[in-house]
């Protein structure tokens, strides 16, 4: 049975989530891939204000397809998270709480998740059409020159994800594999 969770995430909510939990996310999340992450971190380095208040927010690693007429957004599944590892600890220090992507994270990211009571979710890689149906509104709020890699503000309803790394540092990619290894 999936847990229904609202964004922004609080410390209390994050602490209730465990690696392997199925979750339906509701509320606002932001998109960001490699190029947007690089710019956000450069802005932090220069002491500039970020294009959104990042406290307790969740970033979804996605570069969507263009929306067809009548769609809020085109197909929108996760991209590989590891490419964002270099930037993640600094964004978590600035207040970022949740991340949605797919694939392995570095030790520095896991440590940062534990330190900040964060959570790393996976959405199903390759399920872009299914995931787009849970995105009700999409608006570009920063870096429009990056095209599909711009930062979008998304309103999601029952967006399906699975907890991979919880606030205690448990990792489903390790525990799940151990369970079924022969």
């Amino acid at each position: 049975m999936a847990k229904i969770i609202n964004t922004p995430l609080t410390d209390e909510t994050a602490k209730t989530l465990r690696a392997g939990d199925r979750v339906l996310l509701n509320g606002i999340i932001y998109t960001g891939r490699d190029a947007a992450h690089k710019r956000l971190v450069e802005m932090l380095d220069k002491g500039e204000e970020l294009p959104m208040d990042i406290k307790d927010q969740t970033i979804y690693y996605v570069g969507p397809c263009p929306a067809k007429p009548g769609q809020a957004i085109g197909s929108a599944g996760p991209t590989t998270s590891g490419r964002m590892d270099a930037y993640t600890p600094q964004l978590m220090d600035a207040g970022l709480k949740g991340m949605i992507g797919k694939g392995l994270r570095s030790k520095a990211v896991v440590d940062s998740i534990i330190k900040h009571n964060g959570v790393y979710f996976a959405a199903i890689g390759g399920a872009g059409a299914l995931l787009a149906e849970a995105i009700k509104e999409a608006e570009v709020i920063a870096f429009p020159d990056l095209g599909a890699e711009a930062i979008y503000k998304l309103r999601v309803e029952n967006f399906p994800v699975t907890v991979i790394i919880d606030s205690e540092g448990n990792d489903l990619y390790k525990s799940g594999k151990e369970l079924y290894k022969k």
Binding site: C65, K68, S75, G77, G126, A129, L131, A148, K177, E178
Partner: protein
């Protein structure tokens, strides 16, 4: 000698780029359904069900299965009795890609240089084009868009002949294990063995064009495909890396004669969105 206007190739590429991104081949769908029956992990089963639901939504609503609509990889089999008219073949293919990716609302994922500015070309060109000259007066086009997530987990090794089958197995298992959840399992593993560095990589990619689970005609190679599939699925990675019995849907191997000193092995990993469509002109 048959004359074919390259405009026809543009039209076909436009259509194939859209259709390949919307409609998952039915053999891939069937393989997902078969593995769902056997999957032991509850989370793995839910994940396979969502993957099947996703391709159905894409098929019904005519939208991309995955947002990564790939680099445009085109395999051409050009009959030697064909005379191409009306312009450049490569330009005709790129024009088809340009039109298809625009009209189909597909994501443009190509950058114009790999390591300095990385500016998006905004029309998903250039296509990666592989041309073979074959007997006859037809042109066969296979359009196989390839996403970055699984391509990034691919690998090449120049093994020694003395490494043998055990060496090949170890390289494949290590590569899949290290890739873990990154290439969006369940995956299809395309393997090229033999030839030179470029030949082995090309046949690894060609192996992905085979119908899922169809074995190599040589029983020794077919046995290696079967053994590797079982050993990969014993790794426990499972659908999306959440743990389970379905890490790969198939292992496809192509071989080529090699130098007396060499045994190159290339592994091209393909995610479950194993897209390819073909047409004959």
């Amino acid at each position: 000698m048959r004359e074919i206007d390259v405009q026809k190739i543009t039209d076909e590429i436009e259509r194939l780029s859209i259709e390949s991104n919307y409609y998952l081949p039915l053999d891939v769908k069937k393989a997902l359904e078969d593995f769902l029956e056997k999957e032991e992990s509850p989370l793995g089963r839910d994940t396979l069900l969502d993957i099947l639901k996703n391709q159905e939504i894409a098929r019904t609503n005519h939208v991309p299965i995955c947002q990564d609509t790939g680099l445009a990889v085109v395999f051409l089999e050009l009959g030697q009795d064909v005379r191409l008219a009306g312009g450049s073949l490569n330009e005709a293919i790129n024009e088809g890609v340009r039109r298809g990716y625009e009209k189909g609302y597909l994501r443009k994922s190509a950058v114009d240089d790999p390591f300095f500015e990385r500016k998006n070309t905004k029309d998903n060109t250039p296509a990666i084009i592989h041309t073979k000259i074959v007997p006859g007066e037809n042109i066969k086009i296979i359009f196989a868009p390839k996403g970055g997530g699984s391509e990034n987990m691919s690998a090449l090794a120049m093994l020694k002949p003395s490494d043998g089958i055990q060496g090949i197995k170890k390289f494949v298992l290590d590569t899949v294990d290290k890739a873990g959840s990154n290439p969006c399992p369940p995956i299809i593993v395309g393997i090229g063995i033999g030839g030179t560095i470029e030949k082995t990589t090309l046949i690894a990619k060609e192996a992905l064009l085979r119908k899922v689970g169809e074995h190599h005609s040589n029983p020794i190679v077919a046995k290696l495909e079967e053994d590797l599939l079982e050993e990969i699925n014993d790794l426990g990675i499972g659908p999306q890396g959440f743990g389970g019995r379905t890490t790969a849907l198939a292992v496809h191997i192509e071989t080529f004669p090699a130098h007396i000193a060499s045994m190159p092995v290339a592994i091209n990993i393909q995610c479950h969105v194993a897209r390819h469509q073909e047409a004959v002109i």
